[in-house]
Amino acid sequence: MRISLFVPCFVDACYPQVAMAAVEVLERLGHTVEFPEAQTCCGQPPFNTGMWNEARVVARRHMRVFEDAEAIVALSGSCGAMMKVFYPELFSGDADEPLAREISSKTREFSDFLVNVLQVTDVGASFPGRATYHDGCHSLRELRLKRPPRTLLENVRGLELVEMDEAETCCGFGGMFSVKFPMISSAMGEVKCDSIEATGAEFVISSDSSCLMQIEGIFRRSGRPRRCLHLAEVLASRGSLPG
């Protein structure tokens, strides 16, 4: 299958290894990966701020970039949900509504694509260690992807997956929310980190690098660093720790 990869802007800038790992996994499974280089941002920041006109400008451009894609794989549950769930509402009544619906139907979050489109549950990865999985809220509640990442992780050799009490509780990132209400966002992040710590896991895995940015940021600032990894990095692993 010809796969067009959507690499969210902050993954491109801060976590390129996540996208490289995703490319590796998809290619290993025998698929052709394309990266439309004109892509920038999906438009979620202004959308969540309520500035839908501004969001439409950037989202429209983003849709054009992916117009000819056969399948779009988003490396973030949050940005994926923007395209899959919110584009149709953002362009409701707009001339581009049909395009928004088409893009929506072609877009899948990474774990969703592997498990539900490619029907792959074991990618042949091996990763030694004890890890806990954090559900990004957009993956969990907009895309309803509770199972797929866990199915994939359960088949990773050497990986021990432990659930935390607050697995489904928001990490507090929330985009602009994290800087508009830093005190609430940080308190939520602390609750999350305490729950992660209580599992004794060395690694935190998620399908959303934005959540991991929040979780890792709090762990590092409070002097108890913990390795945070995107699901793709674990699935690309062949026994040794990435990066």
Binding site: A13, W52, C170, M183, G217, R220
Partner: protein, 465 residues
């Protein structure tokens, strides 16, 4: 920034720092989660029940005119007086008038968020009436002169010790840590108030239009006394409380109990169909129903958010909300705190003054999943943000996103921005976390992820070659 917004920020800063509050609220809710899950699992299908509840409420709200008129007609047929009140002022005037005409002196109340909404107690007390809350939690916060912390558990923020201290100073009771003893102290005071009261004021959980009855659900039995002992009973309810049929209660009563308190069914469920009839021996001689609009019709007129009127005030969305749990109920400064409050308060009290509540959310959606009547809560927060920005965009957000558009429209400028960012990053440690740090909102509590030496798109290009 509006005054309510400033106050929200101030209190949020304070409460989120309070680790005792954080662990106390978490502990208070742990038992609720267990029980809620246990009892919702007893439904043949909890999701099916939610779907059905949504449909019933959808019909009730979308044909509100019809159902309300039927409700009033049926109620009046059994001697109930129905008062249609457009706002809080009209409702308060109506109740004051009833009290004056009947030489009322002492008023007993059972739990009603609708009367909180219109600040009825203040109005009655200002006119010289004695007003006593008979719900234990409400009584406690009344003694403390503060609003309820939570719409179902008004005093959940207080420890037994704090309640004992309060009773000691206000009622002169002996200190105790025993919840039963604390309840008995309040009960001894309350029993006297019940006997003295000329008027009982209650809320209602549901109004059944088919029979013209109101349904009240409670755990302490105080609402039964409030509505049956005094010679006059006044029930205050929002117009959204309507359910079309009696049989709808078979779904809504257990659902409210499960979502609201983690119970199979609440301790006392009462249906009231009118004042004392000629062939009846007891009960109030007068029964008044005050139907309150108070801008609910503003929500009704908005087809996008009309489902916010489905709300049965169970508080389930508050209990699962990480924002509520971290800032606490009083920080909101609203009658209805938590997610549903953040949705409806901008409609009820003004969008521009209360839009900060819709922004103060990570949009995690836990509320929407918890809502028994399937209100699209977290998406409505997003719609409130859109409506607020459309009418009056924030100046700095306008500049920010104008710049963002320029950057995101041109991959060249985007790449240039990344390069400049990497240069800026070298100097950032000099100011990181200090007052001079432009990223302080993030870095005060969190480490910043470094920009990678080479972005993915650069690595991708190199790989192609």
């Amino acid at each position: 920034m509006s005054a309510p917004s400033r106050e929200f920020h101030r209190q949020a800063r304070q409460v989120t720092r309070d680790l005792n509050h954080r662990s106390f609220v978490q502990k208070a809710l742990d038992g609720y989660y267990r029980k809620r899950d246990e009892y919702s699992a007893r439904f043949r299908s909890w999701q099916g029940a939610r779907d059905l509840a949504f449909e019933i409420k959808f019909d009730a709200i979308n044909h509100l005119d019809h159902h309300l008129e039927e409700f009033a007609r049926k109620a009046e047929a059994r001697g109930t007086r129905v008062h249609w009140c457009p706002d809080g002022g009209a409702a308060t005037q109506t109740i004051l008038e009833i009290a004056r005409q009947n030489n009322v002196r002492s008023i007993i109340k059972s739990k009603s968020m609708t009367t909180e909404e219109i600040h009825l107690n203040d109005a009655l007390e200002a006119r010289g009436f004695g007003v006593f809350e008979s719900d234990l939690g409400e009584y406690i916060v009344q003694l403390r002169h503060e609003p309820p912390y939570h719409i179902v558990f008004p005093a959940m923020h207080l420890t037994r010790g704090q309640i004992s201290d309060l009773f000691q100073s206000e009622l002169g009771s002996a200190p105790t840590n025993d919840p039963e003893e604390l309840t008995m102290i309040a009960r001894r005071v309350m029993r006297k108030k019940f006997c003295e009261a000329d008027m009982g004021i209650s809320g209602a959980n549901f109004a059944v239009s088919e029979t013209g009855m109101i349904s009240i659900t409670e755990n302490e039995g105080n609402a039964r006394l409030t509505t049956s002992l005094p010679r006059i009973h006044v029930a205050v309810l929002g117009i959204e409380k309507v359910l079309p049929r009696m049989e709808d209660l078979a779904l809504f009563l257990p659902m409210l109990a499960t979502s609201g308190a983690g119970q199979a069914l609440t301790g006392y469920n009462t249906l009231i169909g009118g004042p004392r009839q000629s062939d009846e021996a007891d009960g109030p001689g007068q029964f008044h129903i005050v139907l309150l609009d108070n801008r609910r019709t503003v929500i009704l007129a908005d087809p996008e958010q009309r489902d916010a009127l489905h709300c049965i005030r169970c508080g389930a969305c508050l209990n699962v909300c990480p924002v509520f749990k971290n800032v606490g109920g009083h920080t909101y400064g609203t009658t209805y705190p938590g997610p549903i409050g953040s949705v409806i308060t901008p409609h009820l009290r003004g969008l521009q003054s209360w839009k900060h509540l819709s922004a103060a959310s990570s949009l995690c959606g836990a509320c929407t999943d918890a809502c028994p009547v399937k209100i699209d809560i977290h998406h409505h927060l997003l719609r409130n943000r859109r409506n607020a920005a459309r009418k009056k965009p924030v100046w700095w957000e306008r500049i920010l996103f104008a710049g963002y558009i320029v950057l995101m429209r041109s991959p060249r400028l985007y790449r240039l921005g990344l390069r400049l960012g990497r240069i800026g990053q070298k100097f950032h440690p000099l100011v990181e976390g200090t007052r001079l740090d432009p990223l302080r909102a993030w870095t005060a509590t969190r480490a910043l992820p470094p920009l990678a030496k080479t972005s993915f798109r650069e690595q991708w290009k190199a790989r192609r070659r």
